[in-house]
Amino acid sequence: MKHKVATTVNGQRREHEVEPRLLLVHYLRDVVGLTGTHIGCDTSQCGACTVTVDGKAVKSCTMFAVQAEGKSITTIEGMAAKDGTLHPLQQAFWDEHGLQCGFCTPGFIMAASYLLSQNPNPTEDEIRQGLEGNLCRCTGYVNIVKSVQSAAKAMNGSKANAGEHSAAARRS
């Protein structure tokens, strides 16, 4: 009844026996123990569960764990550098107040990371369209869009932008 599945999650090889019907999102949360990937709906609409599978953004509630056999998965826990330095998207969401309750945030960051990998210089409209599969109930998306814009600049090495925002940041 159970199937073997071997995946790489955030750079680490994982092997488990799972039920064939186990959703990837439940595999990540309940089997691997990475709870940063969230569940916000039953119909693959909210994007809270977004991860990347072999570099492509995937709603992990739309895929069975066994379908991830041999694949490399990145979750929100795998975004920061080993030394704890936040990924530019994580940093930008922090700097731009791109989150309130934070429940949608991991999904947005993962979807945005895919978006920027395909389009490093998106316009505002392209960001809004690119994140259409993710829902946020708290922010009105204003600062999410700004966060992605600011991350894009930072990732493209535009120093002026990054400097301005981190200087305004943590005044303490």
Partner: protein, 790 residues
Amino acid sequence: MAVTTMIGAKIHRREDPRLVSGEGRYVDDFTRPGCVALAVVRSPHAHALVKSIDITQAAKAPGVVAVYTHKDFVKVLSGTMPVTPSFVAEKKQSPPRFPIADKEVVYQGEPVAVVLAETKYQASDASNLIEVEYETLPAVMDLDKALEAKSPTVHSGAPDNLGWDLTYIPDDPAVMKEADVVIKVRILQQRIAPTSMETRGVLAEYSKPDGTLTVWMSSQSPHFVRLFLGGAMGIPENRLRVISPDVGGGFGAKISPYSEDWLVPAAAKLSGRPVKWIESRTESLQTTTHGRGQVFEVEAGAKKDGTLVFIKATQYLDAGAYMGTFAAFQACACLLAGGAYNWKHVAARTVGVLTNKVPTDPYRGAGRPEATHLCERAIDLLAGALKMDPAEIRRKNFITTFPHTNHFGLVFDSGAYEKALDMAMKIAGYEKLRKEQEEGRKKGKYLGIGLSSWIEICGFGPSAATAPATGGIALVESAQVRVFPTGSVAVYVGTHSHGQGHDTTFPQIVADTLGVPYDSIELRHGDTAEGPAFGYGTYGSRSLAVGGMAVHKASKKIVDKARKLAAHMFEAAEEDIAFDQGQFYVKGSPDKRKAFGEVAFASYGAGLPEGMEQGLEAVAYYDPSNFVWPFGTHIAVVEVDPETGHVDLKRYIAVDDCGNIINPMIVDGQIHGGVAQGISQALYEEVVYDNESGQMRTGTFTDYLLPSANEFPIFELGRTITPSPTNELGVKGIGEAGTIASSIAVINAICDALAPLGIKHVDMPASPDRLWKQIQEASGGSSNGKEARK
């Protein structure tokens, strides 16, 4: 207060590094050894008798630990779910509600059985094997029909479906006669699903030997849950701990206790295993309380010169199958029907109606968006009837002197309504927009400009007003401040942060009051085992104006004690001690100082002043003297496509005044989110039930339309600051402002756009389909319209 350094600063949120790293901890991220999953079997019918429940197959299914129904739960639960008086002290009827149905189900989604199994997949499988035999009964779905004498009843054997009928202030026919123009409008406030991205969830563990219960849940008010749940299970508060960890949004729907908040802990007690239940999205749309769900009949009159004379509002509120805990809170729409204006007379009546739907309860704004909607709609209709500019009629009638006591005895603490209107018009470029509109109309372009000058009552609230409304517990707020021997500070509050950023803003207040570094202050909330004996929770834009003040008050108690001790250390009189930015000194000799930390350390030592106890900690309960009253003006600019009925929201301007500001970044974020929710009600969202079968048609995100980033423009914000005289910090509230203002700004803009077609009113959601039909009818029926479409 020490010189302000942190208050008002844009400090980035300290909770964010955790949340952006996937290290937030929401209920579903917790488990306990031996934990089982609970699935709820729910009524598929809106109204039916439960003839029998057969659990044989389910009980034998793989992994199943137990199946419980009403007869099991009555062994460990007593009483009924709480209903507060809120703004209607006397209800005609409030059907008793037990958390699980016995012989009759009265809304789709009402629990009838629960299954406990080793895994959630097994629990879900087994729940499908439970066979319930129902005999369906007629469902009462329509608000108007529910009140007809021949209507079937929501509950068998009930006399009728009337929950309450209360006239706060009757008509004054003499005043009504003074009006030169009178408008009438019927306004629909559709049912909305609050839809936090994290659904509800409960994890409970019961220790039989200790008789203790620990509950992790997604809640805005864990202390209230402890109070009510303790009562239902017969567990005293000192043995019942409710922990509300990171919470993925609440919006008012996580204040009241729910069936599952009782059933999960009760199942833990019955089974002897920890139990977890996480609501699915469909369960959430079906069974988490809805917001709004009202119809208003509004009549208003003005003089020829635009002077407002009277407004009269009748609210019909669809309460659902049982009264929500705060069902009658939304009646405050009546008390604010006059909005920001002087009227000679305001009349209001609220009617609560039972239907076979899930109960309604507060949703962001709760009664205040409804009030703003009806009042601002009436103002625009009067402006239209008088051929006045909507901005002018507002300006002419604004309340300008404060404090202002309205017709219902509520006292507006401060305001400068015209200032906010002016700023919004300036940002919008109002005159230019009107010109563009005029030009556009000639070319068949339907541009609309919608104003919303909103006010809000919030900061609940003074004990004298709120204790009767809750049925005993005054909505004050508590805080505890502990200063440890080496000077670090822990602050415990009774409010709950689920996106509002209290972890950051409350320490900003403490840092200024104590004059200690912001980084040395830690905020804790959400765990009833910590901090003061009771906390009141977060809702009604109260956290800062009430909770922030409790924090401030407790901090001041600390300073008072530290000052006494510093005086003793300096061998000076207490009156001669100055305290400035965390330093004590004797007035006149500022060079000899003792830092707050030194005094804190000394407080744990020997040689304290006569009668002083060791330690440096304080608890404060803050009872505000009044509510607080934020306000502002929003302007929406839309273009309506007459061919498709599609609304293009081109610009959105929001000028809000919430008094003094602790952290402008967080205030702006609250406005963004609030505005988006109001726009979303105006254009997209609606809970739809089938009127015959009572089945919900919007049970998933496929059918319940939540807008994505693609549906909104960037919001243009402005701000005026009129400090509140109600509290020492001068603060008001901002959590609900955006939602209160925005739905009507958009609707007024749409009505303005369609005015050339003779369309006077548009209901929500202003979907393409609804607008298209209205445009078709108007164009067919009025020459005016035909001409405009050429």
